[in-house]
Amino acid sequence: MSTLLLRGGRVIDPSQDLDRTANVLLADGKIAAIDPPGSTTADQEIDASGRIVCPGWIDLHVAHREPGNDDDETTASATHAAVAGGFTSIACFPDTAPVVDNRASAEFIKLQAARAGHCNVFPLGAVTKNHAGQELAEIGQLVDGGAVAFTGAKNPVANCEIMRRALEYARMFDRPIFNHPQVPELVAGGVMHEGHWSMVLGLRGMPAAAEEIMVSRDIALAEMTGGRVHLMCLSTKNAVDLVRRHRQRTDQKGRVTCDVTAHHLALTDESLRSFDSNVKVDPPLRSQDHLDALIAGLKDGTIDAICSDHQPHSDEKKALELDQTPFGIVGLETLLPLCIRTLIEPGHLTWPQLIRCLTLSPANILGIEKGTLNAGADADVTIIDPDVRWTIDPARFRSRSRNTPFAGWEVRGRASHVIVGGKVRFTA
């Protein structure tokens, strides 16, 4: 029996309302006990004093690019970046080439993840065959192959009828549809948030209304079908309000969930003044009033989870003119310090609130038995050094891609140890 004792850390586990100094014993890949008897010894010990010990973090959607675009990222490099950033589980987008729209492709991702041996990977399946938006993918077969939710990735499920049927069908398996809530016609050719700065910079805008309309539609369809909708990367004030009112109005709590990225909390649309392709993300960075509403949504629990929305792109793809470069930035390795800077330091969230957004909530959304330190649970644990100061240096990323706007930022806090299934997979 192999054992590991995490000694003297501040143990925060929102799944059991725990926040106190304690020892955590791991045995044979499972959580054995919190505060085992004082005489307990273990094969290995980690001194966690001055650190935070919490369930391993879960990222709701990561683009890992394999198969098809392994110049940007692979399952191995994405999972390596994940553990370096503090994550023990990631859910992976199906927008690979070929698309993950059948059982074999889902199983391939799990196989590649097992070969890489860094962290757990949960495939997200396509909603429609080949992402074409025409016919439903084989959702049941995908569930058998390990897919935990269904999504068009960065392509919104635009057709209302398809969305309705997908919700109805996926409900049979108690699986959610992850939507990128955006009306395509209103953002066609867009580069950034539509507002003052898009007008000044002469860049095509993506109006907030494009998101609000789709969020409104998805809430209506979730209520109608009883299906589960997860809204990815909320970025607008009114969208947060719509979700909040839905929760207040009905007894269907949990039917509609949502997340926000760390970078949407850290930057506004004014950053586009640099014309830097690393501030071109989808949904776009918004203005300060939207950003404030996202923080309010996190504070009152309207927004369930925080994710990286990791979107790796090689330098060649990002070194193009702004309107020709793809959307997205890498985020796995910068999420924690951004959350500390935007949420913990200003006092918007407590550590237990932040950790809930990274553990229990995403586990519940994905319907996976993770995100807890309950005895008997998988021994996925993240240990945080909340005070260490460091400088973000993309050259040191484990990700294959370097597309971040945060290069050179002086930040605080990082994962010091990441334990997956009882094994230490990353040490800072």
């Binding site: 007008m199 910079l201 002469g202 860049l203 640099s274 014309f275 003119e321 702004l322 309107d323």
Partner: protein, 320 residues
Amino acid sequence: MMAQPAPAARTGWSRKHLLGLEELSADEITTILDQAAEFNRLASKGEKKLGLMSGSVVANLFFEPSTRTRTSFSLAAKRLSADTIDFTAAGSSVSKGESFIDTARNIEAMGVSHVVVRHSSAGAPHLLSRHLKAGVLNAGDGTHEHPTQGLLDIFTIREHRGTLSGLTVALVGDILHSRVARSNIWGLKKLGARVIVCGPSTLIPPDITKLGVEVSYDFDEILGQVDIVNLLRIQFERQRSAFFPSIREYAHFYGMNGERLKLAKKDVLILAPGPINRGVELTPDVADGNNSVILDQVTNGLVIRMACLYLLEQHRRTGG
């Protein structure tokens, strides 16, 4: 005989690049205008060819079609005795898949000191300025800015009216897709003019009043109070969907014609950055009439571009 270089006087200029009028101060804009006026004065004395940029190489990189701006920059560089490289995207390696930055770097490697760039993407000159050692002049980037056009419009107005302060300028037409409008607004406001933007509501960005301009949808109503009318071209090539029902309807409300001109002040100046769609933005009788200064604009474009190149060159030579 070639004139000797003017003494390297303090130009009050401290920029390596000219990317837009947004970031320039009123003093910097005035410095450019005064330098252009000086080149005009020299030209009127017959000193058209100056040795001020002898030995320097100016590359004109045009990734988007242009006749007027490209030839104007090319001639401006030649008048300053610079060597020029003219590059247009058609038939270049860009069509073979080479990236924009790689193309620019390769051309820069020929010893280029200044790059003049026109591109359909907003921010393309800014991207180049981060990757090249050469000074970058924006000759129009997408729907963002066209600083030398803004400067030559302002120069033309100043030439006729002496000052910008207190004048009312109407920018008419497709404001949303117009880099000329943006550069004009920055420059005119900094120099104290009142600016009214006028056009169909679909072509005026809602937030534009934050720049300190007034908005009107009724051209006839504002005509009587303006000193200058700048008729922007309808950017058919930039419009992704229908912004107005028909060209005929546009011309009906916003086209400048002889009848409409009667509503304006007698001495109103008519500007148009061109190339104009005759019969849409304005009719030939107005374009060629007494109020039109359209050809002055073209003439002034040359000295404005000479001034910009010269100031950047001075900055470079003094080790800036």
